[in-house]
Structures are given as C-alpha cells and as structure tokens.
Subunit: 227 residues, 2 copies
C-alpha cells in the first residue's frame, strides 16, 4: 500500500540546470559590463572551474572570479553579479509544466508528500517558496540538516523516518540514477525516474521501476500501485 | 575652491528608515502567515529588541525571532521572512525625488562625488546599484573596508584620502548630526545637513553650515561656494 512520495527538488520539480546556467551567464555578462575586463567565454571557463573546485554552495564564486581576473577585490563588480544572478532567479524560478496540477491530484489521493534534497536548508526552502509549491509538502529534508547528503543510504533512511514512512510504502521520484534512483531502490522504495535536466540521457535498466518524461505520468502510476 | 562632495547613503540619498520599517513589518506579517504563532505587535517588539541587541548587520534576526517565539528552528518560516524582506527591498528601493537630476548637475560642474557609509560593503553596494545611482560616484567607502565607522574622524580622513580631497575643498552631505555632520565639521569640511529620515527633527545650531530639505538645494549652495 503506497502511503507517500518523496521527491528530489532540483531538476525534478523545476528546471534547475537551465536556470543556473542562464543566471551564471547573465551575471558574468553584467560583471563584464561593470568593468570585469575579460572575454565572456574565458570568464565562464574560470567561473566553472571555481564552481567545480569549491562546490556550488561555496558562496564566493564571483569574489574569486573577480580576484582571478583583476587580481583584486572589487565590490562594485561582485555586487553587480550577485544582483543579476538574483534577478534572474526571481524571474525564472517556476515549476515544470503540470507540476502543481499533479501535486494537487496526489494530495487529493491522501498521500504524504515530502522533498529530500542536497543543499543548504534556507536556499532549498527559498526555491520551494519562490516556486509556490511548498504548501504541498508535509516535510522538507535537506542534507545540511542531516549532515550527509545523497547518495548515502542513511540520509534517505532519515528522510523516511521524518516522514513516518516505510520504504516499501514509499514512491521515490528523482532525476539522477546515481544519487537518487539507485539508493532509493537499494532501500526498497518504488523508484520513478524523471527524464529531466542534464542527466536525462543517462542509461539505466537496473534501478528505475518506472521512467517518466513529465510529472503528470506519476498520477496513473500511483493509482495502479494503490490498487 | 570646492572640488568634491562626500555623501552619506542611508536616509541621505534614499529613504532608508521608511524602507527598513516597511520591509520588517511585511516580513513579520508573512512569517505569521507561515505559522509563527504570535500577535503582530508582539512579534515586532521582539524583533526590534533583537535588532537593537545584535545590530542591524547581524544577519540572523529572523532566526532569533522564530527561536524566541517557537523555541525551535523553522526554516520555512525564516525563509518566508527573508524572501518577503528581499521582495520589499527590490520594490521600494529608489532615490529621494530630485536625487538623480541633482547628481547629474553636480557631475556637470566637474566635481568628484563619493559615498562614505557605515555598513557591509556588498550590502551598501547593492543599495547603490539597485538605486541606479552608482555610476555617479568616483568612489564608495564603507566602514567594513576601513574597520571603523562613523563618527570616528579616522574613517572620514580615510575617505578623504581615497577621494584625493582635502577637507576644506570638500562638501559633506548627511542626515545625522552626531554621526555625519559633527565629525565632518570637526575635520574642516563644509557641512550640509539634509532633513530626512528619523533624525530630521534633531536640533543643531552648531555643526551644520547649511540645512536643506531636498537634495536639489545642494546645486545652488555649491555654485555659491565655487564663486
């Protein structure tokens, strides 16, 4: 008997890959306009290396980019990048098509819904609130809260216990085979892989019980599972 | 011979007192709507005490408010407050009337213009960029950069040296007698007090060379001083 669904957030409920790419590119363009004296593609190369080295939650990507290019701290250029990034975020953050309709139907079926996500708690909550979908979720579990993220099985176990769910009565929905679907399957959850974001072409014949292209397909899957 | 003007930022170039008050009130209202179980005026009392105790740049005001009211950390409520505060900031940050026209005229007179302000560098730059007036200023000097703020004379001396200005050739424009006008006068600058913000009713017969109600009055003052 299916009692609940755990969702990944980034690239599962909204287009994170696209938003982040556009926000970074627009931020770099605005920094060049503010005086960062470098060609655009070269700046993107440096920025992507900084993000790869320091991680996406480092918080000083633009500071390091400016220092790498100009050899000094320049608050005007850094702040210009931060503001542009933020403006793009506010403008572009919205759920994938059919997401809200699907969540309404799933709640109407009496299911517990939760989000389990890698990232900083306030940052992930900001996305959910700006996406306007936070009231659908009974709980939101972040790797920052637990101290360990995906694909660690302990993190998924912690998420299930916070939700009061057993693995076999839980559907897991995520986009990444390695970090979402494989550990969820290993714990005994019913796994639904959504083909979205930059990992959508990864092949998997082993861990996904279902593969969907749009979240709305989830409604029929859960209906069949509940019978 | 007047060569430059140093401006205070908050409540001198835009209505900081009003913006901060509205942003805090709206943030608290949204937090109550998100589940902060307390009466509005009581919440504002607690928040104002936290801000008074920890300072305005503390960064965890809403975290502390939620902990004080609920006895626990609640990321949904905290993030709701942060987003509302930010949305109000984006909506309300604009210069006082006549500010941009006045800055255009002052630049056309060949003057160096600078901002000297207490606060965090990125935060003060964010205000200037969102206000759209940052291109008028040859330099922006913050207390965070210097390590010491107003009314310390050293901070004003540091600002003058960054601008390449001597006190006697510099006009200082600010709203506060104690933190702006008094130290500027003591250093030998020509002081212009603008009657704006929450300190506008403070009486001063000693340190203000000029008192203005709107920034545009500055143009005639400087014209006369340059003759």
């Amino acid at each position: 008997m299916i009692k609940g669904i755990l969702f990944d957030l980034d690239d599962t409920l909204y287009n994170s890959s696209e938003f982040v790419e556009i926000a970074r590119r627009e931020a770099v363009k605005s920094m060049i306009d503010a005086g960062l004296n470098i060609k655009f593609e070269e700046a993107m190369g440096i920025l992507n290396k900084i993000i790869k080295d320091k991680g996406s939650n480092y918080g000083k990507h633009f500071d390091d980019l400016v220092k790498a290019v100009l050899g000094r701290y320049d608050p005007k250029i850094i702040t210009t990048g931060i503001i542009t990034y933020h403006n793009v975020k506010v403008a572009l953050l919205r759920p994938y098509p059919h997401t809200i309709k699907t969540l309404i139907e799933l709640k109407a079926m009496g299911l517990k819904l939760g989000v389990i996500t890698d990232g900083l708690t306030i940052k992930q909550w900001e996305k959910l609130i700006r996406l306007g979908i936070h009231p659908f979720f009974d709980d939101v579990i972040t790797s920052e809260e637990f101290g360990l993220g995906k694909p660690h099985l302990e993190f998924f176990k912690y998420g299930l216990s916070r939700m009061g769910l057993k693995p076999e009565e839980t559907v897991y929905v995520g986009d990444r085979v390695d970090k979402d679907i494989k550990p969820a399957k290993e714990l005994g959850m019913i796994t639904v892989r959504i083909l979205k974001g930059k990992y959508k072409d990864m092949v998997d014949n082993k861990y996904s019980d279902y593969t969907i292209k749009s979240l709305q397909e989830l409604v029929d899957i859960v209906k069949n599972l509940k019978q």
